[in-house]
């Protein structure tokens, strides 16, 4: 397997991004929301890693930290041999070009007062791509064709387009600077099913054509199964399971992954009427439970879980943060 040999394009090690909670008369920091709390993950070049989890688990924060829209408090973000977490300002600028993003709400991601042409050309201008405006316009037309839009629409404004078309414009804007990695944060979640299929196909085509790597952040397991090569499951700021998609979906090692898979409504007529697999509500990321973070909702909880925090155990080609996967036996 080639990805075992070549180093991954992006490797995140021990990423911690906390948000302060302020209170008291002097607005001092009295606590932290641990949005990302020791996250490790790797995205191979030209492949897709899906980061999946429920709302508030910190998956978007991981994406935003990689894009350096948030400042991580600890951890390393290795991209092509350079630690992005330590860069700032001018030093970071060239890497902006190589990592791009596509967001959930294409209506909010486009400036309502900017024509499509200018929106797509914005990044080219910042990185000096294209010798002059005419050349950039030519490139914008080419990009619009690549995302299957009519180049004649480049003089339009975002509100004149449908949701799916706007998402295509966002993709074109990201492609304009020739990135190697695109962070897709719930990029198809807000779209209707028929449009979602179009965008997923487009993303797959572009990956083939350009050898793009995707970090695909989503809560939709069906989408993960369809698009990803590997999947990382996140719960309360930590990656609880990671591995190749086929293995994780077929043989989930972590109880949370099992719960997620079982909770997703299925189209299988026979699967109707199962009881809900995961009980209760997720705890607050400001005050995560001690020990294993999932133990308050876990169906397989035992005495060790509330006491110790499980490390990542190797499970085949991936990992799982569950004592059940401890090679030395679950109870110790």
């Amino acid at each position: 397997m080639s990805e075992a040999v070549s180093p991954p394009l992006l490797r995140v090690e021990g990423l911690e991004t906390y948000f302060p909670i302020r209170s008291g008369p002097l607005r001092r920091i009295t606590g932290w929301v641990r949005a990302a709390d020791g996250v490790d993950l790797a995205v191979p070049a030209g492949k897709t890693l899906a980061l999946v989890g429920e709302s508030g688990c910190g998956k978007s924060t991981v994406g935003r930290s990689i894009l350096r829209l948030e400042q991580p408090r600890a951890g390393r973000i290795w991209f092509d041999g350079v630690d992005l977490a330590t860069l700032a300002g001018r030093a970071l600028h060239p890497y902006r070009r190589r990592i791009q993003m596509i967001l959930q709400d294409p209506a909010a991601a486009l400036d309502p007062r900017m024509r499509l042409r200018d929106a797509i050309a914005e990044g080219m201008q910042a990185f000096g791509i294209g010798a002059n405006e005419a050349e950039r316009t030519e490139r914008v037309a080419e990009l619009l064709r690549q995302v299957r839009l009519d180049p004649g629409q480049m003089g339009r404004y975002p509100h004149e387009l449908s949701g799916g078309q706007r998402q295509r414009v966002c993709i074109a804007r990201a492609l304009a600077v020739d990135p190697e990695l695109i962070v897709c944060d719930e990029a198809v979640s807000a779209l209707d099913v028929s449009i979602q299929a179009q965008i997923l196909n487009l993303l797959a085509d572009l990956q083939q054509e350009r050898e793009l790597a995707y970090l695909f952040i989503t809560h939709d397991l069906a989408v993960v199964r369809h698009i990803a090569d590997r999947v990382a499951v996140m719960y309360l700021g930590q990656i609880v399971e990671e591995g190749p998609v086929e293995r994780v979906f077929a043989l989930p090692a972590h109880p949370y992954t099992r719960g997620l898979l079982a909770a997703a409504p299925s189209l299988d007529a026979g699967a109707r009427g199962r009881p809900a697999p995961v009980r209760g509500d997720p705890p607050s990321p400001a005050n995560p439970p001690a020990g294993c973070r999932f133990h308050t909702r876990c169906p397989d909880v035992f005495d060790r879980c509330p006491r110790e925090s499980p490390p990542s155990y190797a499970v085949g080609d991936g990992t799982s943060r569950c004592f059940l996967c401890d090679p030395e036996g679950p109870s110790r």
């Binding site: 894009l67 990592i99 991601a109 007062r113």
Partner: protein
């Protein structure tokens, strides 16, 4: 430079600016749509406002005739004084000696025959000036109050609000403190205090109105900048490597302009009405409708009642404010971010 030349230059500059802004707005479909919608909803109010602007504009273009350049003007005569287009609609010696009723042929109290019998459509005032003429000239004063003050308020509020909202931190704390200090002083009292300290006069009154008026808009701009700062398209621009200054210029400021326009429209009538109150307190601007109302007020107790003075000035004021309020309402409906994008 003589005052009328300066005023001509300013008028020309404003006209060019206005034309440029309109041309630019025409190219942007969002603004063009908003303009069309505005004209569709409130055609009468928009025309009335335009009429007032036209009258004020015509009153701002003045020139001196009848003497060679460099010749000394004789003081005390009309010769050598600059007269505006509006002035020229009336005869140069249109002034009477005292009150006369509308279309009267004789003075009200002195019973003397008038210089221009039956020609004073709205009568004359205490010193014999034609009320219609004064009323028309008041339009310019009203627009100067609104316009000059806005010219102080809008750039100041944008600069302060955007920088506080964008930079945040200590700068924001400092700006917030200044704003809350100014805002904690009751508006009318602060206005009076400012004019008492600065002195009376058009510039001073507008400056005072500006100092009391900018905080509201600056707060709005600051809050909106905070919001825009976190929006996806700003984040996207950052990821695309766009510099901070450029993001502010290309993404933040254009998305604040509708707020500025709404505030301007809402602010305008308040400013003109404030001046009326100041006039009554004796610290207003010469030639304003407020002054006319103030002067006319005491005449109501005379016998026979002198009502034309009050009626003319307050009607002119009322129609302008009503039209501006209606336009402001429509502007808000059309441009409000919550409804604007769906409506267009």
């Amino acid at each position: 430079m003589e005052p009328h030349v300066l005023s001509n230059l300013i008028t020309a500059a404003l006209a060019i600016l206005l034309a440029a802004a309109l041309l630019r707005a025409r190219r942007d479909p969002l603004w063009r749509g908003a303009g069309r919608e505005l004209a569709r909803r409130r055609p009468i109010a928009v025309s009335v406002v335009a009429l007032y602007v036209l009258i004020a504009g015509l009153d701002s273009i003045a020139w001196v005739d009848g003497h060679a350049p460099g010749a000394k003007a004789e003081s005390g005569t009309l010769q050598g004084q600059a007269r505006s287009v509006i002035d020229r609609l009336f005869p140069a010696d249109f002034q009477e000696r005292s009150y006369s009723a509308p279309l009267a042929t004789h003075e009200l109290y002195g019973e003397e025959p008038l210089l221009h019998p039956g020609k004073h459509l709205l009568g004359t005032n205490m010193i014999g000036q034609d009320v219609l003429h004064l009323t028309l000239k008041g339009a310019r004063v009203a627009l100067v109050i609104g316009g000059l003050t806005s010219a102080i308020v809008i750039p100041l509020a944008l600069l302060v609000g955007v920088s506080a909202g964008w930079v945040g931190g200590r700068l924001d704390d400092a700006v917030f403190f200044v704003m809350s200090t100014l805002a904690s002083m009751p508006t009318l009292l602060l206005l009076i205090a400012l004019i008492m300290a600065l002195g009376t006069g058009t510039t001073q009154v507008c400056l005072a109105l500006g100092i009391t008026g900018w905080v509201g808009l600056a707060r709005l701009v600051r809050a909106e900048t905070f919001k825009i700062r976190e929006l996806d398209y700003v984040q996207a621009a950052r990821v695309l490597g766009t510099s901070e200054l450029r993001i502010v210029w290309r993404h933040v400021v254009p998305n604040l302009m509708h707020l500025v326009l709404i505030t301007f429209a809402l602010l305008f009538s308040g400013l003109v009405l404030s001046e009326v109150m100041l006039s009554w307190l004796g610290i207003g601007i010469d030639g304003s409708w407020g002054r006319m109302i103030d002067q006319a007020r005491s005449e109501l107790s005379r016998e026979p009642v002198i009502w034309w003075n009050l009626l003319a000035s307050s009607t002119a004021l009322f129609i302008l404010i009503l039209a501006v309020n209606q336009v402001a309402d429509a502007v808000r409906d059309v441009l409000d971010p919550r409804t604007a994008l769906e409506a267009l």
